[in-house]
Symmetry: C2
Subunit: 417 residues, 2 copies
């Protein structure tokens, strides 16, 4: 994409009411726009990164046997009344509104109730199990405070996967598979090392309720890490269980962290009140055994912005960068040779099926470099009047040593090879 075509501009300052580092950087770089406290829109560069994160998660969900769906935000209160979650004393983050006829409805903050109701039409026998529907869908949560940029928002896309199993044993096998898939997702996104498998209460202390927590100064949670085992317990757990669940060691280190994913065993908490029953091999009717598994792709993007940025701006891992490379043409004199060279390289990349950001704007080199640092694409390539014919000067974002490579080599990078 030519940068002259991209409609967003970088800006020197974030809005004065924006205190979080992730949103400050993402707004300044033109990735997002702040609509209100806790409500953000995604602009072209931001949506590209968000979609790369979603793409990685989708691949891993499909590999688990997930089937993608897309559910409504507006909710039928009668379903939620059956589980006791319509009541605002049970759930205080509802946004509620009403239809023209005065009937109350709410905006889903999660989808256990309506999905359990849907599955009643599709599950009747043990032969129909297990099943794993998932979606990427906008959730609404009426947060009292929202001060962490896109890490905690009042409206956000969530990947929510649900498992419907015959019994706890079948459930546990899938639960472990999801845990592995989650580790893989965060590794692919570039925050695997900072993301800790954390034991959380699932009613009672059990290895079957877990959070994925990314250690990060902007975190609102505190986790207690066993540095040796690389696992942690969360704040709910630490009082009753002040030791590593793996090695039993007691001196756990308190760390600020952001919950980037969670995996819950739901058991029959939803299938019983909502009547999701199947006939088992033994001929008996039983409630389906459920689990749910969330990741917020926007939150993950915020955590990456917090963790991997520097004083100059964002630093994207290759896997979720809006583009694999940023090509900058520098024309310091009236000579058009350099811009002709970069134009022709850009056209070759497009023909090869690659997509890069190409800074073809009529600006000083210093402004272009500052923008490139702020936007944070991992590979920066420069063609100036000094660049030898057929070459391009390449440097990693945050790196110091530029090197000359051939156009053919750069085209490979641009095509993600």
């Amino acid at each position: 994409m030519r940068q002259s075509f991209l409609f967003t501009k970088t800006r020197r300052d974030a809005p004065s009411d924006e205190t979080s580092k992730n949103a400050q950087l993402l707004i300044r770089a033109g990735f997002i726009h702040k609509e209100m406290a806790g409500v953000y829109s995604f602009l072209p560069l931001g949506l590209r990164t968000l979609n790369k994160i979603i793409g990685i998660i989708r691949e891993e969900m499909n590999a688990l046997g997930g089937q993608e769906i897309f559910m409504s935000a507006l909710q039928d209160r009668t379903l939620w009344e059956k589980t006791g979650r319509w009541d605002e004393r049970a759930v205080d983050s509802w946004f509620k509104t009403e239809f023209k006829n005065g009937a109350e409805t709410g905006l889903a903050f999660t989808h256990e109730e309506p999905l359990t109701a849907i599955m009643r039409g599709h599950i009747s026998s043990y032969k129909d199990l297990p099943k794993y529907p998932y979606q990427f869908q906008v959730k609404f949560r009426n947060e009292t405070r929202a001060r962490s940029g896109i890490i905690r928002t009042r409206e956000f896309i969530m990947k929510d996967l649900y498992s419907f199993s015959k019994n706890e044993e079948e459930h546990k096998r899938f639960y472990e598979k999801v845990a592995d898939a989650y580790r893989k997702i965060f590794t692919r996104i570039g925050i695997g090392k900072n993301t800790i498998f954390t034991f959380a209460s699932g009613g009672s202390f059990s290895k079957y309720s877990n959070e994925l927590q990314t250690i990060c100064d902007a975190g609102e949670d505190t986790i207690y890490l066993c540095e040796q085992c690389g696992v942690a317990v969360n704040e709910e757990i630490i009082k009753e269980h002040p030791s590593c669940p793996k090695c039993g060691k007691e001196n756990l280190s308190a760390k600020k962290a952001v919950e980037v994913g969670n995996i819950f065993t739901l058991g029959t908490k939803f299938s019983e009140p909502l009547g999701l029953i199947f006939r088992d091999e033994d001929g008996k009717e039983k409630p389906v055994f459920m689990g749910s598994y969330g990741i917020g792709p926007g939150r993950v993007m915020g955590v990456v912005a917090e963790l991997l940025s520097d004083e100059k701006g964002l630093v994207w891992p290759e896997s979720i960068s809006p583009f694999p490379a940023h090509l900058i043409s520098i024309v310091s004199t009236g000579d058009k040779k350099a811009s002709k060279d970069s134009d022709s390289l850009y056209l070759k990349i497009q023909k090869s099926g690659g997509e890069i950001l190409y800074d073809d704007r009529d600006l000083r080199a210093g402004e272009k470099f500052a923008d490139a640092d702020l936007i944070g694409i991992p590979v920066r390539a420069v063609i100036s009047e000094k660049t030898p014919k057929g070459k391009v000067e390449v440097k990693e974002r945050g790196g110091n040593s530029p090197r000359l490579i051939s156009h053919a080599e750069f085209i490979k990078i641009a095509c993600g090879k």
Copy 2:
């Protein structure tokens, strides 16, 4: 996808309160689920078709120079107060709700106000124009009645494109390009012939406000068609202007139709109150000249379901079918040869990168054929014990004459070649 893996089942009857043909068929075939009147969720097959429609629209939007974004549903009322559209006497389809602090917010039914506000940060000079942001985003409309299935819903994904131009002349050129892109989109989706460019009021009668109306018995609109020119006028216009806007002929035929797309000239209606101003080449400050262009992909899916179905079920055009082909294995005796043949063909298709629906279920042939007719994938392929080795019996949905083709030929169809 193996049909034994797909979690949805077909059903004999739609819910008794569902009176529209499109939703009845789509529910029975397992494409959608009715949450409440006017609120539907998309199940795996339905989401696949919806995403194919979205993919076609996205390609055409990008070809126009569109840049994809993703905006919030929750709205800052102060922006809408500036244009007078917060008031429910001006807009009666708001869903409004409130934040914890008691401040009112609403769910966007369109996005002119917040996008105009965003663009203030990115447009300041004539050099920044024109720009064409667009999105696929969930809109909310508090419809009094919602009886047309997924054709008129209270929550729906909308493609909304907005144009920001220097002046009316630049705007008009783009407006015509969008009109062409829209014709192309509906042709690709398979309803081009039924979709009529319809003249609608744009304040005053003007060729610069148009609807794309698909002639369809389920339509809630009436259009007045000039059969000769293939254009129409809508009900707002017919009284003042009871003749064809092209040839002037007066005997227009009244037809029921569904508005599948619209293109509006907005002028400076939003840029003036919201202060979206640019400095023109002549040094003067001017408000940006705007347009907006909508298509509802879910509504389009509903119209296709209405128009192209028959008494047996849905009939998808190849371009938006959930899968290019439906392979059915028929094992009438205990012999496993036929299912081995179809299994091996299915594996070959997967290796070639194709995706089909493969009915590997342990069901009678009649049930499988009835399901295939209901689901409506355009190409049905059968392997039974009678099928000669290396061949597959292929028939078009709705067609009567099956023919034998080689596995290699079928793999091409399955890969969309």
